[in-house]
Symmetry: C2
Subunit: 131 residues, 2 copies
Amino acid sequence: MRKRRAANLLTEVELEFMTALWALGRGSVRDILDRLPEGRALAYTSGATVMRILDDKGFVESTKEGNVLVYEPVLAKDEYQKRSLENLSKTLFDDTPANLVVRLVDDGGLSDEELEEIRAILNRRLGDHDR
Amino acid sequence: MRKRRAANLLTEVELEFMTALWALGRGSVRDILDRLPEGRALAYTSGATVMRILDDKGFVESTKEGNVLVYEPVLAKDEYQKRSLENLSKTLFDDTPANLVVRLVDDGGLSDEELEEIRAILNRRLGDHDR
DNA sequence: CAATCGTTACTAATTTATTAGTTTGACAAG
DNA sequence: CTTGTCAAACTAATAAATTAGTAACGATTG
C-alpha cells in the first residue's frame, strides 16, 4: 500500500491541477487535462501521475466510475485559500494578516473600486451602523 | 563564472535566510545562522551554500569585509511581500486581490481590532469622508 | 476471438532543492 | 616558520518535484 504522504501545501503543478478540478467540481484525468490553460502540453500519463499523487496526499479522492477514475476535491478551494493565506502571513508578515492587507493596499495594485469593495466587506463584518 | 540563475520566488529555506537578513540589515553567514529560529540546526557550510545561491540568484549582494563576506539584500522585504502577494493573487484568487482580502476577512481568523485596523488603512487611503 | 483503444499502475529519467563534506587560502598564535 | 582556526569555494549526497515511458487490463468492435 502506498498512500499517506501528507503535505500542507500544494506544489506548483499540483495547484494547477487542483485549480482545474475545483472549476470542474469533479472529473477524470482527461477532463482535467482539457481544462488546463492553453499552451500547457503534458502527456496523459503525466497528468495521471499528478492526480495519483494528489490522491496519495489526500487532497482529492477518487471513485471508479465505469472504467474511469473520477476525482473530486477533498479540500475545498476556500479552505486552501485560507491555508495559503495563513502560511503567507506566517512566513512573511509576522503572522499578522493585517500587515498583509497593508502591503496590498499601500502598494497601489488595487483600484479605488476594489478598495471600496473591501471596505464594504469590512463594514458588513464589523456591523458598523454609524454612517 | 557561475551567477545568473534568476528566479522569481524564494524557496522555503531561502525565505528563512532572507527573513533573517532583512531583520539584520546586513550580515555574514555566521550572523544569519545565529538569527535563525531556535531549534534550527544547520551546518555552517549549509548556510554558506544557501547564501551563495541567494547571491547567484541576485536576491542579495556580497562584499568582502576583512576576510568575511557580508551579505545584504538586493530585494527589500516590502518588494518581496508585494511579489508574493501578486503571485498568490494570480495563482489562487483569479488575479483579483480583493478576493484575497474577502477570504481573509470572511474566514474569521482576524480579531475585531485587526479588522478595524484594516478599515482604518482603507479609510486613510480612500479619504474617509462620509462618517 | 483478435486487434485496438482508453485507462490505470508502475517505473524511470530529469531537474531542482536541501544539506553537508572536502579542499584551499588567509591570517593569527606560538 | 609552522600550526591551528575560520571562512569561502567547490563538490557531493540525499530528497523532492516534474515529466513521461512501459506494462497490463477491461471494454468495444470488426
